[in-house]
């Protein structure tokens, strides 16, 4: 099957530090794929290169066979890549609903003059924007908090809000950067369910996550990177038993049978 997302030879330096070296991997449509690796392995840097927040020094990124390497982030969003952030990057002063409305930006068109004079086409589009945004809020279960300031939500809800906002851009693939970070067990269970629902709705999921139980539980495939290098790739089972991964990532003296 044709890959949805394909990176070839992504390399990124920060000064003398090699953050990513020649990372090549593919994500097939409909997959849940996880990227794991020890702290500082370059997972978030890879995410930033894919979403365009950082420019890779070398390498090519293709979405649906089309190269998007030269695209700025907003064009990549338009093309169908959306993301959440490790440190939760919601718009704190805006309401929960407004946050998701912003996600509809790249799927709506009306410009300053139409908006300023509130033309009929603008009002129709606005109605559609709000309707769609409500769907995504219901999808993550925040429909009762729409008028709250986003900054007032507890962390778990902020993460959900970020996911709703990312989905509102109608992505082909959504990148989740440590979605379980700071969540308790119950919230993490809900998250796992939500990620499955996202995939079932036809959106491919690529995630970076430290919670190994979650990763092993939900991923179809896992990419392991270490010190910016691709270490291994495969299904959860093969990753768990891969000696390189065990050495580099999980440590040598742990019994993995119960992971």
């Amino acid at each position: 099957m044709e890959p949805l997302l394909e990176t070839t030879g992504i390399t990124k330096h920060f000064g003398g530090i090699q953050a990513l070296n020649d990372i090549t991997f593919k994500v097939r449509p409909g997959q849940i794929k996880a990227i794991i690796g020890p702290n500082g392995a370059g997972k978030t840097t890879l995410f930033n290169c894919i979403s365009g927040v950082l420019k890779a020094d070398k390498g090519d990124i293709k979405l649906n066979g089309q190269s998007i390497t030269g695209f700025p982030p907003h064009k990549r969003a338009q093309a169908g890549i959306s993301r959440t952030f490790q440190n939760v990057a919601i718009f704190p002063e805006m309401t929960v609903l407004e946050n998701v409305l912003v996600g509809r930006h790249c799927r709506s068109r009306c410009e300053m003059l139409q908006a300023g004079f509130r033309t009929r086409s603008m009002r129709n589009e606005e109605r559609e924007i709000v309707e769609k945004a409500w769907n995504f809020l219901e999808f993550v279960g925040l429909e009762n908090q729409t008028e709250k300031r986003a900054g007032e939500l507890p962390l778990g809800d902020q993460r959900l809000l970020e996911i709703a906002r990312a989905l509102a851009t109608e992505p082909k693939i959504v990148l989740l950067d440590e979605p379980a970070g700071g969540l308790n067990t119950k919230e993490t269970e809900r998250l796992a369910e939500l990620i499955h629902q996202i995939r079932d709705s036809g959106i491919t999921v690529l995630l970076v996550e430290h919670d190994m139980n979650l990763v092993m539980d939900i991923s179809d495939e896992i990419l392991v990177i270490n010190f910016g290098e691709r270490l291994a790739e495969g299904n959860p089972k093969s990753i768990k038993s891969n000696p390189d991964v065990i050495n580099a990532y999980l440590g040598e003296d742990i019994d993995y049978s119960d992971l």
Binding site: P73, H74, A77, E93, E98, V102, G103, H105, M112, I129
Partner: protein, 318 residues
Amino acid sequence: MGYEKKKILCLILFLVIFPVLVNYIPAISNYLEVMIFAGIFCLVTIGLSLLMGYAGQISLGHAAFLGIGAYSSGILTTKFGLSPWLGILAGVALSSAIAVVVGIPSLKLKGHYLAMATLGFGEIVFIVFNEEVDLTGGPSGFADIPYLHIGSFEFTSELTYYILVWSVVLIGLFFALNLIHSRVGRAWKAIHGNELAAEAMGVPTSKYKLKIFVLSSIYASIAGSLYTHYICFLNPSSFDLFWSIKFVMMVIVGGMNSVWGAIIGTVLLTYLGNEWLTAFKHFDVLVYGFILLLITMFLPGGIVSLPEILKSKRTITR
């Protein structure tokens, strides 16, 4: 127009009653003229409030755009005999062109650096007004600028100009409120909240920052033209750094997060400047500084945040 209907109606009601009051109370007989200036400045600060409060970009050079509008229509009407209305349009065209040229490089800067860049731009324009003596009349300026007119009707009396200016302000306010409640306004707020996230959600951030910079320059330029054709005399002193800072102050005192704040702050500070602080003469700057200090320390949301703060205090004490 479902939202903020009440506030708009209140404003219109006030604007209708105000001239009547002024007419019957001799002690405030000159307040109508002050209100004309307040209206002109309101146009500047509505644009500035969109730029600062919504999109989160500061400008310490907006008096320059006021000046560009003023000089464009002043020079074109007086020296080239153009109709004042065309002069206003020419000012808008020139201001937006300059805003694009200035905005593209300087909007890449953030915070203090953007403030410095726009401040520098304001100073350059101020120097041009002073030095291009053939065109601008230099420091002494020039006079005999025609009034605005429709057919043979001239806007010469205070009352007609008051109506004209505040009608334009209401249109400007309408436009701004509509923008705020649209995808464009939300994009600006998103940039303010988190530029990186806004970009990742599909908002072309540099384009949107430029758009609001240009729009706010257009507001200021129209204000400048209205100013020119009211006082019919121009010199550079109304467009210096002090005025740029004063506009920013009006926005902050009224409350940055709302265009209503801009209107309240502007009207208040215009009356302070033109009427209530005249006893302080040149020391009025000190008073302004003190007011700004008090507002930023005790009322960071500006005057418009006052009712909400009082309300929350009341619920706490209960």
